[in-house]
Amino acid sequence: MTQTADIVIVGAGAAGLAFAWAAVAPNIKVVVLEAGGHVNQRVAPSLASDWELALQTTFNANPNLRRGVADYPVDDSESVIRPAIFNAVGGSTIRWGAHFPRLRPSDFRKRTLDGVAADWPVSYKDLEPFYDLNDEIMGVSGLAGDPGNPPRATRSCPPLPLCPATRRLAAAYDRLGWHWWPSDAAILSRARGTRGACNNCGPCGVGCPRHARASADIAYLGVAQAQGVELRPGAVVTKLERLGHDITDVHYVDANGPARLSCGEVVMAGNALGNARLLTGIIDNPLFGCGLMLHPTAIVTGLFKQNQQSWRGAFASALVSQEFYESDESRGFIGGLQLQALRGQGPLTTALGGYGLRLPWGQRHKEDFVARFGHSLSLTVTCDDLPEGANRIALHATQTDRHGLPVPRMIYRVGENSQKMLDYGIKRASEALREAGARQIAINPLVRNGGFHLMGTARMGVDDQAGVTDARGRVHGMNNLSVVDASTFVTAAAVNPTPTLQAIALRAGTAMRDGKITQRAIA
């Protein structure tokens, strides 16, 4: 018997589950196929003292090292940055920091304002209602009124508090006359329904047993399933069958063996690496695969004389400075950067170098450990990476994964503009940390394991000359194929991408639900 679905979504991550929730309706059958299984965060590693070991094993962000059942190898030999993704129900939000900033209106108009890259075929105003909707579903702590961004609705919870180190940093920013604001975080500071309030424990990256930190499974899956969305976990999509300008069937493998779904619409939400494995050969637009943007990131760590107990608090969501966000020609580069505070490291991670350099072994080790552990605060320098043709995702000619799918190749180098931005950001971050009282500064000039923001490779554009998809993610030249994740980003901006990719997915899902669905393939 041929199984059918009106909409088949590939990937149950941040984008896929948001899209599913938006697209489902009583007369529309939505099936989500996800390679990974469920992760029970109620029993997260942070309930045991040796939780930091999980960061190297089951929660290692690098799929080549984690090697879980749902992981596929990524060839990163031609990239200075390694992949950081998670394959499970919830996708990479199982592993994320939940820092939840929005793009600014100017980010959608890079060509008009700065003469580089291209303008997006959507504007901030188009996405604003979907940002708001997504905030509501994910649950956001924060404070409206940030002078760095357009006004926005009152956040559902008050901001997470500052810790001693971030208070020092905030005061330093004030003395320097720089912008700062408490982060929007997809973390509840007040309990809601079955989700508890954050208790400031620190290691959000190994899952949150209180469900205070939103991940796509916690925030979206239940409400989507209540409306009829069907999730098939452990289902690896192996092939899209194409006939002319249609995808007729989706082939997948699960515990019961190979299976096939006849589909009305196919929606790709597997992130740029996952999508490339299935779409290469299906999409013949030469832009496909090109313009990979990764937010090259530097981390600057300040060491303070006094113990700041900086192991407390959600590791990635405290405060940001967007003082250097908008382009300013006098700085010698186009675009800008964000400085995001990081903390929340345990003793083992500190010894292994954490955000910076590993502590030396030998006689000085213990002295260094006591001087550093709990005494540090780090700033990420997140750069507005420009889309460059040479930075791309391609497929390996011979290597395949266990299902016979080609291994994706990440091909990436830091462009000249991004490098200038990184250098500038490192100087500014060092200045801020010194002003905050740090007596020593350690610089990690490029986070090698920092391939966590995969943007571009199937960018949106008004037509097939300008982009691979239209503004709602529908692939130009195909009748029923969409891409709805950050692959469609036209520019990278200098902020974490998830609120924006989810807003894009919600907008696309809403449009599909509201009448634009083709019923063609449902025989």
Binding site: P147, S189, N199, N200, P203, R210, A351
Partner: protein, 141 residues
């Protein structure tokens, strides 16, 4: 082999004669070896470094051992790196070492959850200065 591993751990993480014990003398050899086994290529790295130790390494003074280890590290940094990771993993997850950390730094010897730490309210008055400076985003259209 355990004797050489103990000596290796003692060299990487020596005691300070006061608060901190040396990793090997603290009895972490077996645990470190097991943790190396759990790492991709960890067992081979550990075996390789142990094999590279010179004869009589166990009986050498700390400084001399350090010199040898620096040479071995220079020959194959990635391999040595795996051994350091296994050593640090064993040391910093050991309950007795965690007691010492608690005493010296205040980091409680318990898992982060379920207890966590107090979540104080955010003090909005901290934002007075930044609010006073006004908007800094570029309007479009």
């Amino acid at each position: 082999m355990t004797g050489r591993l103990t000596a290796l751990l003692d060299t990487l993480l020596p005691g300070d004669g006061g608060d901190w014990p040396a990793a090997g003398a603290h009895g972490l050899a077996v645990h470190a070896a097991r943790l190396a086994d759990d790492m991709l290529g960890g067992a081979e790295a550990m075996a390789g470094v142990l094999d590279a130790l010179p004869k009589g390494f166990v009986d050498l003074p700390q400084l001399r051992r350090e010199e040898f280890l620096h040479e071995i590290e220079a020959q194959d940094a990635a391999r040595f790196d795996a051994v350091i990771t296994a050593a640090y993993n064993a040391y910093y997850t050991d309950p007795a070492i965690r007691d010492i950390i608690e005493r010296l730094t205040g980091y409680p010897n318990r898992p982060p959850q379920p207890e966590g730490y107090v979540l104080d309210p955010f003090d909005e008055s901290l934002l007075d200065a930044v609010k006073a400076r006004g908007p800094i985003w570029r309007p479009v259209d």
